[in-house]
Symmetry: C2
Subunit: 343 residues, 2 copies
Amino acid sequence: MAHDITLSLAQAETLSRRILHHAGFGAGHVEAITKSVVAAQRDECHSHGLYRLLGIVETANMGGLDPQAVPEVIDQAPGIVRVDARYGSSLLAFEQGLAPLKEKAERNGIAVLAINHCFHFSALWSEVEALSAMGLAGLAMNPTHAFVAPAGGVRALLGTNPFAFSWPRPGGTPYTFDFATSVVARGEIELHRRAGESIPESWALDNQGQPTTDPATALDGAMLTFGGHKGSALSTMIELLAGPLIGDALSHETQAANEEGTGRPCHGELVIALSPKAFLGEQSEAGLSHAERLFEEMLGQGARLPSKRRFEARARSLEAGVSIPAALYRDLVALSGEGGRPD
Amino acid sequence: MAHDITLSLAQAETLSRRILHHAGFGAGHVEAITKSVVAAQRDECHSHGLYRLLGIVETANMGGLDPQAVPEVIDQAPGIVRVDARYGSSLLAFEQGLAPLKEKAERNGIAVLAINHCFHFSALWSEVEALSAMGLAGLAMNPTHAFVAPAGGVRALLGTNPFAFSWPRPGGTPYTFDFATSVVARGEIELHRRAGESIPESWALDNQGQPTTDPATALDGAMLTFGGHKGSALSTMIELLAGPLIGDALSHETQAANEEGTGRPCHGELVIALSPKAFLGEQSEAGLSHAERLFEEMLGQGARLPSKRRFEARARSLEAGVSIPAALYRDLVALSGEGGRPD
């Protein structure tokens, strides 16, 4: 096993701040992105953790996002807060939209945060968990790039379009899920390619629309949706609600950043918040207790709740810090423009 | 092939009205239920069509729903209309909630219709299509009875929990999907049992929690969710949002009506409406046109849009009426308390 470096959460934050500051990110972005990547590292979601800083900085250097963008918060309607991220990271836009979203959801019962023109690299669970931590139920979704064929189709058109949900649980970790509507994450196919392993036939098509078990061919072709036509329908709904409904791009209209600076990685995101207090009034605590019966029944028959592994990792990291490969640590330190271990 | 009886849509409506009136349903219920079953028959959704009247009347006779229930419409919050169906059919409750839902969605951008204590037998597509026909995007979901094991579990706990979505398309049929979160509809397993055919191993568990290919054993055990843990997560979300969030039952707390009158078939339903006009203002038509690009891309690569078969059936039925098996027709006429063919 390769050598790992262990950092406290505070050290991980300092390292992230140095990297982002050195890459020219504005102070608000530095804090919002640091919070996100350290939370992911803490929960051992490695691909969204400190590793992700390499890609963020590269995208900024290629002109794929504006590291100094100042989000514009727009009171679109009594139930809609819209934040134009102005081609900056989605995370600062989300943070700035969170308070008005909460206020609208608590007043109306349900409200939407629509984020436009954002560079989106983070997992959605941290956003829906920001809502459940405030006692709200939250949903979030966004398009990505055209990596996935619709059911019955032959070419990449839909994004990997993640869908996340979190439900507040009194006195414990929330009920949270966050899944890609592709059959697996794109990174999973990349891992198989690196390992020289074939992939199951149900994961992807080649560029002629035929099933393939070769990961490189799959990455050049189209992934498939989870659950056949049902997953494809759900992914299409995400395209519509987090795209045209909010005046933003479909997955096939976006592209990863590139060296020519012509990539268009930015798109929209839709977050829906529902307030149990607005639905149930004085009965809202009873409603949350009622939901616990479902979780008890699940656990009682041996089913796991989603995010269990992540919550266990969180508890470990809060105790003992986070570990990353030494090679990644060296790359990150080099990117920070400073030598030595962060204090 | 068995003999079929062809009825005009008007004849089908008359037959349905007679049956429901004879069974003691109030005038509002007669109209709302007739509209639903004839629409399903028109779209050749046979299990939700005229056939369904047999089950509705039987449930009413067993005391599983109140055929005279008067729904109560409650202005719960600026973004929530709640309708207490008072143990009557969901359909009249939906109809009475529709105008306030539209008004709230157009004012706020997003709004919810929460229906409580309803007997729910209809497909959700007709409800989300009522929204898209008014220019709104609509989602609908509800729990059912405990037929489905959660991912990693061994016993039935979740419902078959349908999830439906409709998006308005200018000048054409909407983009609509409506699927069960179980891997197949329960009726599909029943059809295999009647035909003496085995089912795929991925559909269900026996009552010991082991995979089974025997349909009778499956019906006595637990169905599985579509898409593994992702479908299970989606189904759980539906339990929470259309159950405890609105102060109503989880699927494992409901039961089909029974002869002893102790069944508890009633539960809740959640409908969400989003207004493109509120999101986009003067750009809302451009937004809907933008969405068309996605559908064009899908069709251009040979993918079908969901509900295509249903819309084709609709066009046929509007032209030529609907056909039902002669035996079903006889059963329905007997239930109508009158002889002869409806005019």
